[in-house]
């Protein structure tokens, strides 16, 4: 299969993820959409690695997975902490950093 199909899929996934991050208000869903974006990137990396015939892209994909795992740990930890404090699970209401 031509590499461009993989790239189109990857771009589609990335756009869905980005759209989710921008549109949805629940932190949990935003986190899921972030995962989607990261994996879209992974797909592109792996596709390019296969196309070029070397393993560098694969290695990067593995590293991105590690980073993604870390990020999920932090993100979920934050969400749990918010839940415990009975804070609203809505990112638009958490705007204490307004200038």
């Amino acid at each position: 299969v031509d590499v461009s199909w993989y790239l189109i899929l990857s771009a589609l996934l990335f756009a869905i993820g980005a759209g989710g991050v921008l549109i949805r208000r629940s932190p949990l869903v935003i986190l899921l959409c972030l995962e989607l974006m990261l994996n879209a990137g992974n797909l592109a990396l792996v596709a390019f690695a296969r196309d070029h015939g070397d393993q560098d892209g694969q290695v990067f994909a593995l590293i991105v997975m590690v980073v993604a795992a870390c990020e999920v740990v932090v993100g979920l930890g934050l969400i749990v902490a918010m839940f415990r404090r009975r804070l609203p699970l809505n990112v638009d209401e958490m705007r204490n950093l307004r200038g």
Binding site: V21, L22, I23, R25, V91, M94, R95, L97, G99
Partner: protein, 672 residues
Amino acid sequence: VGWFVSATTYAWLVLAFPLAGCLVNAFGWRVLPGRAAGWIGTAAIGLAFLNAIGALLMLLDKPVESRELTSSLWTYASAGGLDVKLGILVDPLSVFMILVVSGISTLIHLYSVAYLDSDRGYARYFAYLNFFVFSMLLLVLAGNFVLLIVGWAFVGFASYALISFWYRRNTATRAGMKAFVINVIGDVGLVLAAFFIFRELGSFDYLAVFDAAPEQFSTNQGVVIAICLLLCVGAFAKSAQLPLHTWLPDAMEGPTPVSALIHAATMVTAGVYLIARAHPLFELAPTAADISAFIGLATLIFAATVALAVTDLKRIIAYSTISQIGYMVVGASIGAYAAGLFHLMTHAFFKALLFMAAGSVISAMAGTQDIDRMGGLRRALPFTSTMMIIGALALAAFPGTSGFFSKDEILVFAAERGGFYWIFTVGGYLAALLTAVYAFRIVFRVFWGEPVEEARELEHGHLAHAEPENPMSGEPEDTDVGFPGPEHHIAERDWPMQWAMAVLGFGALFAGALQIPGLDDVVHSFLHGSFLDSPLYEQVPSVTADWEGLGIGGILAVLGIAVAYLVWVARPGTSTALAARLRGVHAFLVHKWYFDELYDALVYRPVIAVGRFASTVVERVVVQGIVTGAVEAVRSVGVVVRGAQSGFVRAYALLLVGGFAALGLYFLIVSG
């Protein structure tokens, strides 16, 4: 012969012992019992003195032409033609100086062991004192100008620390600051001189500089005069010569042994040493040397007149020190190097002795320093009065004493040199007469006359005790730190003080025997090794001229003592009548020629006015205006920009995504 180490090794040991003593006392003050700190300090300096003798013996083994030895431990800095080593120069001049410094210091440490016995800062005192001796030895042993400046600054600090030793005394801390500030003026002169030397000759090393100077400079070339005058600024600040002398009388706020060691016998002679050390430069700049000699002459006359009028016992001796250093500066500047340095040595003996005796008197008077309140202490203090009389005889240059031989040698050299140098002879003899008068003014007013109450009590064995008060301001004193402790110590009752004074008394009487015209020539011939390149060094006055000068000096000394006897013993009240008759002159002298008032008007007040202007106008209006303006500008920009910080995470994310998308588009278009 393994223990016959070289002269330079001895010299390093001379430096090592005082430093070790300082460190032991500084870090061990908590655990050192009783007088241990004092004995450690004394032993350290005593060992340094023994090693100085070792260096002397090693140096005497060598022929006169090769008595300049150098040694260096490591290199400080080496870059771009600059080559500074931690190096020493061991030659007759530096060995002479370390012998005087360590010898006198040993005795003064010994004296202090008893004198400061009940002071709470006992170990701190000896740590400072050892540090001073280390710094002074470093100063005189330094083999280049950089190390000289290091030692120079160290002794300045040690002097500051010891003047302000009783730090609860306001007058003492102020005197310490004054001394430090004036000494820094001198340091600046010295540093600038070193810069000039490096610029012109490319080296800081003494021997290299002095070798290169005659080829590089023509006689009286502008730059060499500038170098010498800058060196003089350093020398005059340290040696309390006009117009930088005002710190020395105030330095008497320190403990009396400190006055004896630092502000009479050793540190203040550093300027004389510097001029003698830099003699190849001064001989290339005769104009600068003459200026220096004239300042010395003015100082010695000025200080002798002031010493006639002031009534504080220690300050009389301080002005006497300024005056005597004036003689040394004249000697070193006109080329009578050996005579100037010989006078440095004899002066160290009798001036230290006078201060020690004064310390004993002040203790007997329970802290009073005003000679108007003293009198008739002769029978109460038999030993102290004998020593004071010996010191005064040597100071007055009474025939046969050490001061007799050393002072006249300078003046005779000036007379023999020809030209206008006779001025120094005349001025010197004039001041010599005054010297004899004020020296015996001290003796007669303190020890003769009607015994005061303290003296009568002491004759019955009761040492006076008074509530400690500041002798200058009359404020009650903090006995924690201040005053040599609650107990008083007089030489009659403490053997360390007595021994120290006895040895100095011996030196003050008989040290002149080293250099009797026609008989022996010890100092002059020994120092020759450091002055091989000096044509002036060979010009010694004839023996006949010497003895003529000594005759005049002897007559003046006896005359001065007779005048003092007449005024203060035979017809008491003469001086009061005279002061009342010449009220203007007396006030002029008592106010020390109004130098302090002059500096107050010329320096202090303008600086304070500038400071006030800076604080009200520059600080409040200009600086404050700039600062508030900057704050306002940042704030008004912030008001505009903060609208972007909505706090909506999704808005930020949108900006991020949109930004990257725009960037991607841009690159697509550009590459396409």
